[in-house]
Symmetry: C2
Subunit: 251 residues, 2 copies
Amino acid sequence: MTKLYLISTGPGDLDYLPSIAKKALNECDDIVGYGLYIDLLNELASKAQQHNLPLGQETERARLALNLSVQGKTTGLISSGDIGIYAMATLVFELLEHEAKPEWQSIEIEVIPGISALQALASKVGAPLAHDFCTISLSDLLTPWETIEKRIHAAGQGDFVISFYNPVSRKRRWQLEKAKQILLQYKPKNTPVIIGRNLTRDTENIQITTLAELDIEQVDMLTLVMVGNQETRIIKQGKHIYTPRGYRGKQ
Amino acid sequence: MTKLYLISTGPGDLDYLPSIAKKALNECDDIVGYGLYIDLLNELASKAQQHNLPLGQETERARLALNLSVQGKTTGLISSGDIGIYAMATLVFELLEHEAKPEWQSIEIEVIPGISALQALASKVGAPLAHDFCTISLSDLLTPWETIEKRIHAAGQGDFVISFYNPVSRKRRWQLEKAKQILLQYKPKNTPVIIGRNLTRDTENIQITTLAELDIEQVDMLTLVMVGNQETRIIKQGKHIYTPRGYRGKQ
């Protein structure tokens, strides 16, 4: 039985890594990932043979990890954040189903969850995710824009707290502005918006604004954008943001 | 400056705790929480003075933690899962805003995120959260049922992967059946459903079924219920479940 770990490496700072992730990394003969994220692991990845495949080669990374595993090597495929949330884990299962090489079928797969960007950002500002929330990726590279737009409308109608993953890319900038305009049909102009970049790293930058004042120029590829629900509150001069659950009404 | 840590203790198994949580617990003079979750911390909580307040006394726990902090004690308020997701963190901020005792204003609050139940469950079965998802609490103790029902409709319309927190309680059992009936208006009968109980503990139990066959009798207070989107797939005879992101169409 060969083993393939799908390992979440969290938001950046290694203090956010649970022990299960460290133990799995320690067992790996080979580690496959994007170079920057392998580098961030420092000595946690130093024992293993490292396979650094550039951005854009996601499917190749997943295929390589499966192939290394069948060679008898305990392999770790890594992804920042939570590998199960908009990340590499799904690609491995997609290959397992559709390429279905007979030798892959004996691989035992273990997924190691991690702290996703939305949790890191929420923890830095307070408790904006304390009530019903959703995540929407604004990348229309793999998902038709109509589907994404339908979800933004639904999130507005349902008054969810919304985390936008992949809000912009270098070539793709209009989607976040469009999302903002859609949400303004459902949410007040002063709905709190949190913009988080390089979370938990030295270069971390967090800005608090409102839906009406959200400026797309503040947002880049490494940013998570979180929009509150109708109850989300900014307190202590913008030091904290939280979404009430309603305990107060019950006192 | 006195310090109050709001510490996530994760799904159960202490191997899911990141180092930041262990470091924060280690700094605490006093720990406030529900007894079961303090007990699960074992030696991680043994150095501190423990304050065990029963279920139902959530506001009292938050208030006690604030009051211990102003006494100069480094205090940890703990919550299972992620303390920012349907948990205790929001209560502290609610008190800070509305009770606003002057002495509380000097407390420095640090929130420590953790692995939430939806991530633990997802990791155990594959990658069901790989595309847009939402969470909905079915508890109408603090939220009017009309709001919850509106969100279930929105989640169905938007075809989100849905995680139901607090699906039932001892006294409250019809909400999950109602949610199922609403979702059947939007999602196919064979939509995968994952039922996870006591995640990461010795008594962990995970069942895979479909939306039409979801039996409310399988669900209790300690259960998370996750419903796939229209693309979510069960593979390898039910060993894995994943939601594609669409890489395959781009090859």
